[in-house]
Amino acid sequence: MNRTLRVARRVLQQLLRDRRLLGLSIVAPLAIVYLLKLFFDTMPPGFNVARYAVPVAAFLVHFLAFLLCAIVLVQERTGGTLERQFINGFRRHEIIGGYLLGYLGLATLQAVAALAEVVLLFGLDYGARTLLALFAVVWALAIASVMLGIFVSTFARRESQVFPFIPLIILPSVFLSGLLFPFIPLIILPSVFLSGLLIDSDRLPAWAELLGRLLPLRYANTVIQELIRPGGALGNVWGSLAALGAYSLVLLLLASRTLPETE
């Protein structure tokens, strides 16, 4: 078996053995989506729920994939297993590729569960093709998030050092991608919902709009908004979808340079 697949299998084995983490990363998005439903139920009639339902699901997948991947990789560094992998002959690209494959398994599960729940709870009647396209964009966002997690982990020496990156990356995502939403799902959630401010990115000042372009959620949100718009077509937002793909590729290249093989 190739070494990338060995890393991926090991990452999946770890995830499957850690039932608590696995449960939390599937159940937490579901609980949050449900809270969102309760929140939206209080809105006056005429409020466009669909505008937010799927983007929030996408955001949750983005956040969890990023955070879990970054933390577990930093644990590998502090525990010495990263060094041990290198000494045993695993190469950087094999470890990054393995993580990507392993975490995509988890992100796929999260994407399916969260999307299914928003569609059912909010009674969204999207066609099969739209649903498939939505799933594809959430999935592409998950890839970008895992890459972001790997990239960020190379700058953090301890698990706790991942946390400053949350406001740095996740918070701007929330503001600048056209969404203002939870960044630490279980704790900050109520306050974020209470202040529930939602901004379209074209209403932002130019500099903030440009800054938003650095974040993968912005592209995913553009694609999602087009897909759920009546008469919207994927063909109109190919650029954003391509940007999301390019984003992952650039991060892959960056991470494969910044993940240090030697001290």
């Binding site: 078996m1 070494r3 060995r6 090991r10 084995q13 770890q14 053995r17 850690d18 525990g79 010495g80 297993t81 060094e83 041990r84 992998q85 290198f86 000494i87 045993n88 002959g89 695993f90 030697t262 001290e263």
Partner: protein, 307 residues
Amino acid sequence: MATTHNVTMSATPRDAGRRGAGEARAQEPAIEVNGLTKRYGAFEALRGVDLAVPRGALFGLVGPNGAGKSTLIKALVGALRPSGGGVRVLGLDPLRERAAVRRQLGYMPQSPALYEDLSARDNVAFFGGAHGVPDLRRRVEEVLAFTDLAARAGDGVATFSGGMKRRVSLAAALIHRPPVLFLDEPTAAVDPALRARFWDLFRSLAASGVTLFISTHLMDEALLCDRIAILRRGRIIAADTPRGLLERGRTRLTVRRGGVDEARTIGGRPEDLAAALHPYGLAREIGAVAVEAESLETVILGLIGEE
């Protein structure tokens, strides 16, 4: 864990034992270190280390905590870029000839460095997989049996004691049958019975021709090595056989004659002891006398074994 110990932790230098077989190949060292330095900012962790370890040797790197032992081992396994000087393992540069070197060396780091969520078997198999070990499954069971882990092979490492984690870590270092093994304080914080068992394993590996490079801060362990280097503040301050080092020391000799103790200090060589005893009537043809007492640990382990 085996309860019998055919290895004692006593002060028995073993430089006489396996010399003959390795003599011919000893021309080409397994490990060479030349003028190695490593700086972390203003701090110099290694300050010009020179070493040569013959093939098939059981080599002990002795030194207090913070002497630079782990740094030296990391440079040897290619986990660290030296600031100056060079290292060679089996004639290869661990950084430039990475792939070739990594197949040949096994490394057991100071911390267990294992995946706690995985079983002992999955951990060992994962690292074995990196080397493309043929018939991996069988080899994993073999190496787990060698380290006395067969009974708990399927259990999560998180449930293991410190000593068991070390055995898993050793198994992971041995999985691809490397001809050179680097063990960074393999017996730190390990109970005496397991330490004895570890040295049992190290000896059997050395007997099969593996070169072992073991760091320790325990002096009685150093005595079990073929050669020792003493590292202090990033410098090798002595390198010799255990006997050679002991002979540099002094022996306190007390002879009771007619109820009166006569004490004096003599050299550490067996010849010195014989010479000191000649005035007391030791036959002139006896040129050397060596006394090797068991260590307190060996005596205690013996008592535990009798229980």
